[in-house]
Symmetry: C3
Subunit: 247 residues, 3 copies
Amino acid sequence: VEADVSGEPDKFLDRAVAAIDAVRAGGPRVHCLTNSVAQNFTANVLLACGAIPSMTVSPDEVAGFTAAADALLVNLGTLDADRRAAMRASLGIALAAGKPVVLDPVMCHLSPPRLAFARQLLAAGPLILKANAAETRALGDIATACRVETGPVDRISSPALSRRVENGHTLMHSVIAMGCALGALIAALAARADDPGVAALAGLVWFGVAGEIAGLEAGGPGSFAVAFLDALANTDSATIRQKAKLT
Amino acid sequence: VEADVSGEPDKFLDRAVAAIDAVRAGGPRVHCLTNSVAQNFTANVLLACGAIPSMTVSPDEVAGFTAAADALLVNLGTLDADRRAAMRASLGIALAAGKPVVLDPVMCHLSPPRLAFARQLLAAGPLILKANAAETRALGDIATACRVETGPVDRISSPALSRRVENGHTLMHSVIAMGCALGALIAALAARADDPGVAALAGLVWFGVAGEIAGLEAGGPGSFAVAFLDALANTDSATIRQKAKLT
Amino acid sequence: VEADVSGEPDKFLDRAVAAIDAVRAGGPRVHCLTNSVAQNFTANVLLACGAIPSMTVSPDEVAGFTAAADALLVNLGTLDADRRAAMRASLGIALAAGKPVVLDPVMCHLSPPRLAFARQLLAAGPLILKANAAETRALGDIATACRVETGPVDRISSPALSRRVENGHTLMHSVIAMGCALGALIAALAARADDPGVAALAGLVWFGVAGEIAGLEAGGPGSFAVAFLDALANTDSATIRQKAKLT
């Protein structure tokens, strides 16, 4: 299960597990420009994983928080004028300082202004793009630092690696903001990983394995969300490594 | 328990149960213009019930989401200038397309501008009004597609039916946004029901029975909210039908 | 455990316990101008404790809600232009009416405009200041009605009393908005206590003891947050009194 297509041990999985351990040990700060629906759960996911969230979306305030952060999440849910201004400001600061940035263009295929804005952000510099198939199709072929396409099977492609991840649990689709929180976790990992693709791989297996463990005891979507936060915090990286399903 | 005052089987309850099954089977999209406190729980309630939420409140963005939705929720909590503009835009789109709209005029009796705005919205077309006694009193006698008055006993009155529902659990009052989420569920059901009153009836019994089941195992308001989401997802419609307390 | 440094019974703890009982009996209304991340959890904490939250942050709407409230929370997380305007308006109304106000200057040490705004608010009248060590240092020596400094040991100093509280559980740091919700609870207690320092003492022991009880059964941060809300609601004031660790 922890081998790549050649049957050999997967060096990228080793590096992903190292990034997980580093997040837990080091508490990277992630500034999250994210939608109002996902803010609370996203912050709780980051705390459960050992990272430190800040969540301000006011254009007047993001400079200090972005400067103090190790990574930036830009999530386009509940996008409004203030969020757009804050995203432009934070993105400039983060890219200039060489900090990793994750872009989640939530439902951009349903809203033309959101799609246009996502393209502007991607043109500003090399971002880690986390999107589902419909969002990816709408965006088209745009340069990124790393591309994560979520779906029944998650796909990562970066200059360094290309992998498919098959971990996860069906109840993950019945809890709001699960994908949004994954983007924040990938940002935290990118602050500690040696490659954006490794960070994406680490985030997908950490999330997917925690989901599988939570699914064993959950009785429905409410108890699943609770057990999922516990599993993110409690599952050791050896277990995550062992349960990772990569091809 | 499943009979109307005449002691005969309740045809409207049959139709309400059919709407519950249809929401679970069909995943109607509900665009929710709702307050920032309730957004996360409301989305989780819709997902637990099989519906698909979208939550954007930005005036620039609501057109696409409303056009893609099967029903609209307009909840006046944390009302602000952006929300008012988004509500006017979405309401026009939804009514023109014949989509059902639920209005929840949260605490309009405590804020004169909110009360005035609620009246403007109700004048725009036939809405499903879900309000408690104080809010209903403040609004006065205004034409609606259906009127749901929540309280110790919930009351539904529409051109098609008039019912009292006595399901529920006392811990429902110790979890924030419970009533707000009910409004969203009624909107989802209205996209699948053959009458607004039937949708309201379905929402009240689904919520109330899930509350009763959650109350059996909950140890307080925290565990109640978790068990409630599980019960919404897990309670089959035959059980809901059997436990419905209507007069 | 319930003695002050002199080894005598602590009269202030008696008064704190009386305030806890009064909140549970009386349902004080707390208007919360708080950050978007904390709104939902804060409202659930207040409901679990018997208080009644309102959460609107729109400048057009806060007058009515503040006038109807028994206490005001001003929390500077996710501060923006609307929140600043609402805070100025609500603070004026609350102070003029003699209602207690709690200020939580969240992360003001990371954002100069937030720090300047916190100082302006503190200059407007005697507020209960709840802050951690970094925030307290950034603010410097400013007059308050009562000062609560949270940390590994919490410290209260007011004209009436000076105490250190050592209750709590390590998982409280893994749930977002825990400190924000504490500020709201102190506001609720201040509406029923005979002194701001007594309200702060009551809030710290109620929170800390509930955290200890939740920690006994929690398996991680997800289940801790759930058990914490249950413990806030269920722990009787005699138990809180008995488990309080004061010096």
